[in-house]
């Protein structure tokens, strides 16, 4: 009887354990996957007006981004994707390309099976931020599309990811940047990726720590393709008054030069540029006339947050 009892208990334990393991395996790829925005393209709402009939217009909402998807094994994939709401109808954006202030995509039905058009947008500085403008072709009709970029509030995990990315790829500068504003969390030069991971964890828990903020800023200066980074840079550039020497001048010049490049053929779009951009563009013009390379990466080590 005793043996029978032990056997029954053993079988129960095996059964329960097996069920627990199976449940874990079943959830594994979905339950442990991490999905988050990696590179922000266009994100906001606006309007599309038919190029052939100005009164044929519709409200639109556009989201275009590079998304980081990390599976249960820790393998990260960047998926560039997007969504378009045209009136009440939702579409999927595929074949997405995000550049410095540019975004293009093909428009598919929401299941992503049938192509129905295409979208091409450039970002322009208007008012306090960026407005995306370009063309949308949908179901045979071509529209002019305008989208107001949504203001950005950084999430802790986004700051932490950017910081990790920067410290992994620029360990010397990462260390110097952190040392400039506080004690080092670890040594990315000597410890490599494990230190980048430590800094990431620290910044996830302390996103407002000065060290995290300065490294995120350093990351942003290398990522003009990210609309959230450009929003931060624009805020900095607004504070630079004409003639004032600032360590942030270089990145403002680089950003202004980026806008200049694709507005050369459409100068009218910049007629009402904000004052700070007019000032920076003048400086860029002078620098270019002197034969300087405006796109040189600014010295990241000597700059504050």
């Amino acid at each position: 009887m005793k043996k029978l009892f032990v056997m029954a208990i053993a079988l129960l334990v095996i059964g329960v354990t097996g069920a627990a393991v199976m449940a874990d395996e079943t959830l594994g790829s979905q339950g442990q996957a991490r999905v988050k925005i990696h590179t922000m393209g266009a994100l906001g709402y606006g309007i599309a007006t038919s190029q052939s009939n100005a009164m044929d217009f519709e409200m639109i909402k556009v989201g275009i981004a590079g998304v980081s998807v990390t599976d249960a094994n820790g393998t990260e994939t960047i998926v560039k994707t997007g969504v378009l709401h045209f009136g009440e109808t939702k579409y999927r954006l595929k074949d997405v390309v995000i550049g410095n202030g540019t975004a293009t995509a093909n428009v598919y039905d929401v299941n992503g099976t049938t192509q129905l058009g295409s979208l091409s947008l450039n970002s322009y500085v208007k008012g306090n931020g960026e407005v995306w403008a370009g063309s949308l072709t949908l179901n045979g009709v071509t529209y002019n599309a305008y989208v107001i970029q949504a203001p950005k509030v950084w999430k802790a995990e986004e700051v932490a990811d950017n910081v990790k990315d920067y410290c992994k790829n620029n360990p010397v500068k990462c260390k110097a940047t952190i040392k400039a504003v506080g004690g080092i969390i670890c040594d990315p030069e000597k410890e490599g990726i494990s230190c980048a991971d430590k800094i990431k964890t620290f910044c996830e828990q302390n996103p407002t720590d000065n060290r995290c903020k300065v490294v995120n800023w350093a990351y942003c200066k290398l990522h003009l393709d990210d609309a959230n980074c450009r929003a931060d840079i624009i805020e900095k550039c607004k504070n630079i008054t004409n003639g004032t020497i600032s360590s942030d001048n270089a990145i403002c010049d680089k950003l202004a030069n980026m806008y200049n490049k694709y507005t050369e053929k459409r100068a009218d779009v910049m007629n009402n540029a904000p004052e700070w951009l007019k000032n920076v563009r003048e400086r860029v013009k002078d620098r270019l006339q002197r034969g300087e390379n405006v796109d040189n990466a600014p010295d990241l080590n000597s700059e504050g947050q």
Partner: protein, 70 residues
Amino acid sequence: MKILLALALVALVATVMVSGCTQTPATGGGTAKTTASAEGQAFNTVDQELDQALEGMTVQDMETELLQQG
């Protein structure tokens, strides 16, 4: 005691059956499924981000308007 033993056996058989139903698909199909799943997850994430951002914009617009009205 026999009931206990029977219950244990049933639990074990059920686990084995569930295990058989949730086997990982063949490599090719599995990869395709994973890719499709990643695309789907990414698409949903962007759509949610858009919703949140526009909610924030609306609130901000209203706050600005209220501040202007004093």
